[in-house]
Amino acid sequence: AGGALAAVGAARAAGDPAILELPDWTTTLGEGVDANPYGMPSEYEAHVVRRNVPWLTADPVSSVNFTPLHELDGIITPNGLCFERHHGGVAQVDPAQWRLMIHGLVETPLVFTLEDLKRFPRVNKVYFLECAANSGMEWRGAQLNGVQFTHGMIHNVMYTGVPLRTILEECGLKPAGKWMLAEGADAAAMTRSIPIEKALDDCMVAFKMNGEALRPEQGYPARLVVPGWEGNMWVKWLRRLEIGDKPWHHREETSKYTDLLPDGTARRFTWEMDAKSVITSPSPQAPITHGKGRTVITGIAWSGRGTIRRVDVSLDGGRNWLPARLDGPSFDKSIHRFYHEFDWDGRPLYLQSRAIDSTGYVQPTKDALRSVRGVNSIYHNNGIQTWYVNENGEAENVEVS
């Protein structure tokens, strides 16, 4: 409207109505400091939400939604956008009724309240949590058209909690204790077996995420943190830890979270998340809208085995690669942010990224993975992703030769 007006009459000022006409927010007062005791994003960001894929599961109560990676930057996932995965819905636990029991092969089985937990020494660590099924829909080829859906079962959070080792030492571990069963208080009573070495190495019982209390979707009031290992093991709404001499082979480590190979055998206890990366923008949900010229490619990379040493980017479907620019803190078993800036000539792009971690592990192609694992292992698909960007800047999930 302003533009049309501005064209009328030679005496009118020349320029952009967004500058020439003062907007309401400059001339009239906004809301005061009592309006939003707990703040929320701008109404213009209403599209930045977790989304689910209804056809994936029988019921949203045992299902997953996805982090909108294409809208995020940096390495921290804000709490409201951390993807959700649960098997019996979100437990709404009353913190006053929360208890943690530790028993089994310990000197003294103990019960802790939340207040007890907060009397232990605390540590603060940033870790990614990736569902082992992340990218699981892509084994047979490009399927979901958006990085939120292909890669959005990951988040990266700064946790405050207690080293599990300290808590276990409070009970006194018996030498025969080689495994730990972690159990949730939710309607799935989620369980996973964890080797005692990992429990004593870097696991935590966390009660805060990004500074504030854990969110209900992430296990309020306390969850297990199992750095670098598949998200299902990070038991939420934690109620119990049993120390034993053998693994439990429970449903989530037999029926699920085992990786079926083409010969009919299956791998179990595939805990570590392999090095992986993906370009988050441009991507199908974040096309290039500015045409030719200066263009920013950005993405994330992570490894369950350490830090990210390098990320390479290809614009031509893997023919040629350039090291990307890593920016932001590099933490162990945390998401790393990478960028590649270039002048786009408007020709189609076949975008790929490839992570190399601190152990030297190089993110493989999807075909390389398929050559060993076939297409039915569901979990641990860390293959290189391709986005095709056409002349208009529209991006699509594809596979290329």
């Binding site: 530790i102 979901l144 010969d263 039915n376 699509e396």
Partner: protein, 194 residues
């Protein structure tokens, strides 16, 4: 403990929460139940989702059948075709099923339903009765086919020096595209409830 935190758990408290069951039978409670009682319980509590024969209703999980499909194009992974240990059935049905009424079944009921799930998978006869005593005598057929993680031993190509220039011949050609499938939920800026 060294910090003096927490308090000893009472035996009754441990008993109340220590519900897990292991393949070697540790954790199994006293109890028993047969295929016949299991069928009744299953049809009342489970069939609505999992189907009368464990074949599943809609997209709920399939519990029976699928034997011999693990190398097929679309494997069907069930208790009979895929699960390595019967203890997992007992443990999981008790802790998480029926969906929406977790931990509501008695020990005898879980034994009975477990027996019936064996029956649906052609692993026992219709007069079979499962109990703590005979539990370890039942082995699931796919048990031998699980092996521990060997990714770093078998997929060693991930440690090769990566190629940086002219790594493939010719121009890239698209071999598959997600847009053709068209299964992606469409965002409308109104939240994820599409």
């Amino acid at each position: 403990g060294p910090l003096g935190l927490g308090r000893p758990a009472t035996p009754d408290e441990i008993a109340a929460w220590d519900i897990d069951v292991r393949p070697d039978g540790v954790g199994l409670p006293e109890g028993r139940g047969g295929v016949a009682e299991g069928e009744e319980l299953y049809s009342d509590n489970c069939a609505v989702c999992h189907g009368d024969f464990g074949e599943a209703v809609g997209r709920w999980p399939v519990l029976a059948g699928g034997q011999g499909t693990l190398t097929a194009d679309r494997p069907i992974k069930t208790i009979g075709s895929y699960w390595p240990y019967l203890s997992t059935v007992y443990d999981y049905v008790h802790r998480a099923m029926p969906f929406g009424a977790a931990q509501s079944l008695s020990h005898d009921e879980v034994y009975a339903i477990t027996a019936y799930l064996l029956y649906l998978n052609d692993l026992v006869d219709e007069d079979f009765v499962l109990s703590r005593e005979n539990f370890l005598s039942v082995r699931l057929p796919n048990e031998p086919n699980f092996k521990d993680d060997d990714r770093l031993q078998t997929e060693t190509f991930v440690f090769d020096e990566p190629c940086m220039k002219d790594c493939k011949p010719g121009e890239p050609t698209i071999t598959m595209r997600a847009a053709v499938l068209d299964v992606t939920p469409e965002g409308d800026g109104e939240g994820s409830l599409e």
